[in-house]
Symmetry: C2
């Protein structure tokens, strides 16, 4: 045990430079890290196997140990624990074992991301068909399961999600006669906003999730919008219509690196000659690297966080013109914090729906994702593309003007 | 001659689908292209060798033939001629000879772009030391030799160049105590705006052009700003100070593909921990391809138009975070048109300074560049980068607010 303790002490000493972290080892020894500032965090490792697991493959195993109850946070919570470890960035050289695991993972992740229609559907079901009851516990009332747009500090999640839909709609340069495709439409919130508030003629939302499609259709029906807002359980690659606009929010993360060319080429093929699209996706502003293996194993199989260079490369090959890129930083950290707060406030209900183990996994997922956006250069890209450069105004002033117009329409829709 | 005429007819028929182009062959035969709409353009090819040259290597040789007076525009001007040929995009398969030349060029261009300090200096002297008298003929009064920012149609060039400086300054998130480096400072206009109007404590402008540095220093002196706006004849790689902000406008085009990593790494090394930079450069939104060989031979030796994916790749490697990318489309086409109008209006003076041949070359350069921005997916990227994501506001609203503030300061500076 002496060796493992020494190695853990060495590794964490270089990472935890500020704050107050105590690690209680299986034999009761207490390792203390940081400069003693801030709220104390105490974590206990239950057994010797868990110590070695964290040492050899921290990216995968830390989440597993927390889920299994072998890494127990006794003071503070798992976000505080992860944040202390990750907030200064890791500029130390990883050990040869960790490097070798990473190399192997990069290769196998790419191989696993083939994501044809059938695998894509299984991947989607894994996460999005967990049951509406789960998502209802922590999402805003419109069920927006993607990064909100916080216009000012302290804005409520529901308000920031509305601002996100407005911001995206503004960038779509919509006209009343437009026909829009929403790729990865979730529970239909964006498509319904475009039909009801932005007032476009027709929206087709596609998703691969059975549960999402049912709810989206029911919402359209209830709102009397089912002729203008259609929803189809379909792979976006199977759609053959032409659209004036394409929007895709939080779906590109599931495409997989090997399919980026196909994604952009398909979008171009579906767009009218004067077409414009808005792609909203998580991405990394660092060098492309392996997507967190715990996430791809337990949360998003087949997923891959794109780098800007990889996205741009495929966009260039497609013949679409990139006309704007907004980099939303920290907005997703705030979104995830709001989700985690809501989830933890209703954790008892979640335990009844699933079990303790699932709830620990879900808490780890929300907490770890938040640290990625806060400390690890993970961002959200809003990439606007067009077939012709003259179809997007020459300055970005139109965005604020369209937002002001949509705000008025929101009030009229509510009244 | 029959074969060459037939090949030229075939090639141009697929390109010139609208408009009214007549090509007069050396033997007097008149080839007519287009649908007869718009103003007629008549071009004459003087000799048989010129016909073959245009067929075999149009990208390089068309400009040479125009410069040499062997391709003569008899009705319309050379911009009209190029625009008719290029405006529909070229989706035809190039001939095997043209493809082979392109492949060879890609390899040799990359090899020629090593651009160390000594070669960079020679490349810069080739263009920027042509004499202040030349640039004075067609630039705006502030000598901005880069893409203007047209806030509304019909805005004057001088006004749009002022708007460009304001737009860039707004994105730099300046504070009064800031120290700024301007990489490729030209004749000093941007640096002087930052010192005088934005009111920052210190600006260092670097350029490799003897003529530019002389004029920039004289302007700073005349404005009583020489303590706050310093200028140095220096390679940016030789600077060792630390800066709060870095701005670079129209210099990255000279860096060369092989040196992008070095460029971003150097900028990161020069930036303070809370540093922000704004990179303004021409780029292509298509797949990376060979930079026009006529341009790299006669106008910008060592130059290379970056693609967004190549820029993003090197930015990612540097550890800087891309925080915003504005894609300025068509602004440079308008800028080049204004420059060409001004140049042609004072062409007699240019002939006296140089000769007819130089003036034809310069007209071709300005006309061909305009067609590239109008028809060939060439754009300007304004890429904002930071060392930490929290040092740039979470929404882009600050840009308009800072522009409004700078407008007031401009009025105060004038008053």
């Amino acid at each position: 045990m002496f060796l493992a303790t020494a190695l853990l002490r060495k590794g964490l000493s270089s990472l935890v430079r500020t704050g107050d972290l105590t690690l209680v080892m299986p034999d009761g020894e207490r390792l203390v890290f940081g400069d003693g500032t801030g709220d104390p965090v105490v974590a206990r490792i239950a057994d010797r196997g868990a110590v070695w697991a964290m040492l050899l493959d921290p990216d995968l195993r830390t989440g597993e140990l927390f889920t299994d109850g072998r890494l127990i946070i006794e003071t503070g919570n798992v976000y505080d624990f992860l944040s202390l470890i990750l907030r200064h960035g890791d500029d130390s050289e990883p050990s040869p074992i960790v490097k070798a695991i990473d190399r192997l993972r990069t290769a196998t992740q790419l191989w696993r991301q083939k994501n044809d229609a059938s695998l894509s559907r299984r991947n989607v079901a894994h996460h999005y068909d967990l049951g509406d009851a789960l998502y209802g516990l922590f999402l805003d009332p419109d069920w927006q399961y993607s990064c909100a747009y916080f216009e000012h500090p302290g804005q409520s999640l529901a308000d920031a999600q509305l601002a996100k839909k407005r911001h995206i709609a503004a960038k779509l340069l919509l006209k009343p006669d437009h026909k829009v495709m929403d790729i990865g439409c979730g529970w239909g919130g964006m498509a319904l906003y475009l039909a009801r508030t932005a007032g476009v003629a027709e929206v087709l939302g596609v998703t691969l999730s059975d549960e999402q499609i049912g709810r989206a259709k029911a919402r359209a029906e209830a709102a009397g919008l089912s002729t203008r807002a259609r929803f189809a359980l379909s792979d976006y690659r199977a759609v053959s219509e032409t659209f004036d606009r394409i929007v895709s929010v939080g779906m590109f993360e599931h495409v997989g690196l090997g399919n980026y060319d196909q994604f952009f080429a398909t979008c171009r093929a579906r767009l009218a000659e004067d077409g414009v699209m808005l792609l909203h996706t998580i991405g990394c502003s660092d060098e492309p690297s392996v997507t967190n293996p715990w996430i791809t194993k337990y949360i998003f199989p087949g997923g891959h966080l794109p780098s800007l260079s990889d996205m741009a490369k495929s966009a260039e090959r497609s013949g679409l013109i990139v006309t704007d890129i907004e980099v939303l930083r920290l907005h997703y950290a705030e979104t995830l914090r709001a989700w985690r707060d809501a989830f933890m406030a209703r954790r008892d209900e979640a335990v009844r729906l699933f079990d303790e183990r699932f709830c620990r996994m879900w808490e780890y997922y929300l907490a770890m994702s938040e640290t990625a956006f806060r400390h690890e250069h993970v961002v959200v890209f809003q990439m606007q593309l067009a077939r012709r450069q003259e179809d997007v105004p020459l300055t970005r002033d139109y965005i604020a003007a369209a937002e002001a117009d949509l705000r008025k329409k929101e009030e009229a829709t509510l009244a």
